[in-house]
């Protein structure tokens, strides 16, 4: 299973896309194939390897959806 540096509490997501514009690596997008408990398309990480764990997404999100981790060294070396 691929390692992901962010955890998305997707049932709190309201699909506002503010994180999508704030992400410098452009690796966040709404998953238009799904609808969460609130009735919105939740955000998803499209490229885990490109994410730098900068946490910009977590700092702009009005719904505190993100938990951000820095990769263990083994993952960075891969």
């Amino acid at each position: 299973m691929p390692w992901a540096p962010i955890v998305i509490a997707e049932d709190h997501c309201k699909g506002c896309e503010l994180c999508v514009t704030a992400c410098p690596k452009h690796v966040l997008a709404l998953d238009r194939s799904r609808i969460n408990v609130l009735g919105y398309h939740p955000v998803e990480l499209t490229d885990a390897a490109a994410c730098t764990s900068c946490a910009f997404c977590a700092r702009v999100c009005p719904d505190a959806v993100f938990t951000v981790w820095a990769a263990p060294r083994e993952e960075l070396q891969r």
Binding site: C16, A55, P62, T67, W69
Partner: protein
């Protein structure tokens, strides 16, 4: 795509653990809010939760919630709360301050609450130098009631009660109430930030922290205005509202620290001073 959820727990032998960069503060309860998508109230709640946690204040805090969209702040922040009538949070906070001198006292108010119906309360709490910290979320509109014009609404801005745009000849000019309050010697700290982008959010958090530290150090009244958005009331998408915030809103309401008269440092949580400490005028 199924992704493995990282965590610090039990890395493989010889492997390093993932390092936590950011997590939702525990003081911000793990539940969905009623705020519209993209609403800045959520960001301000989170910053407040982070600051209170960093200053070890949650157990010492009594907050006063407003009437406005943030009326349910007590459901989202895991601290003690009192709900005030519309605009009266500074008066309720004054009462709390007088009977609980050791408590950390906070108000959370919108612009309709603080700068319209509650103008007298905020002005006189500030004039008395009440040792309270006011968090003022200015989105230039009455969000809760359906997007009516507020005293803070920009000139030309269309709202449900100014459908042709705010006209100064008919409706007067926007109020920069934080600058007005900053003139009062009882105000130890007054600053304006915004939730418009990552950098500004960091600066806003530093302002909120300073406004809390001022109270902990025995200073007088402290206020932080957070320029915020109301995508629904403004008739914009969340992203459009952020662009509007960065442009005309910040132009009308300049960002920065307006006054910092510096409280006397007391490196303690003992807030047991019964009268507010007044800085020199």
């Amino acid at each position: 795509m199924t992704l493995h959820t990282p965590g610090p727990e039990s890395p493989a032998p010889g492997a390093s653990a993932a390092r936590l960069i950011y997590a939702r503060p525990e003081v911000l309860r793990d539940r969905s809010t009623h705020y519209c998508p993209g609403c800045g109230h959520g960001v301000v709640h989170r910053l407040l939760a982070e600051v209170l946690t960093e200053l070890d204040l949650p157990a010492h805090t009594i907050a006063v919630a407003p009437v406005g969209c943030a009326v349910f702040a007590y459901d989202y922040l895991d601290i003690d709360f009192v709900e005030a009538p519309h605009g009266r949070a500074p008066a309720v906070a004054t009462g709390i301050r007088r009977v609980r001198p050791e408590a950390f006292v906070l108000t959370y108010q919108g612009d309709g609450d603080l700068a319209a119906i509650g103008t007298a309360e905020i002005v006189h709490a500030a004039a008395r130098g009440e040792r309270i910290t006011a968090i003022f979320v200015n989105n230039g509109i009455y969000g809760m009631t359906g997007g009516q014009m507020a005293p803070t609404t920009l000139l030309g801005q269309k709202t449900t009660s100014s459908p042709f745009g705010r006209d100064a000849a008919l409706m007067g000019y926007p109020i920069r109430i934080t600058e007005m309050l900053a003139q009062l010697p009882g105000v130890t700290y007054a600053a304006r930030g915004t939730i418009a982008d990552v950098g500004s959010i960091g600066k806003l958090k530093a302002m909120i922290k300073r406004a809390c530290q001022v109270q902990m150090e025995g200073g007088g009244f402290a206020i932080v205005e957070a320029l915020s958005n109301c995508p629904v009331g403004w008739g914009m998408t969340p992203q459009q509202s952020i662009e509007h915030l960065k442009g005309p809103v910040v132009e009308a309401y300049p960002l920065g620290v307006i006054v910092d008269r510096g409280a006397v440092a007391q490196p303690t949580h003992d807030l047991g001073c019964p009268s507010p400490a007044h800085p020199e005028a």
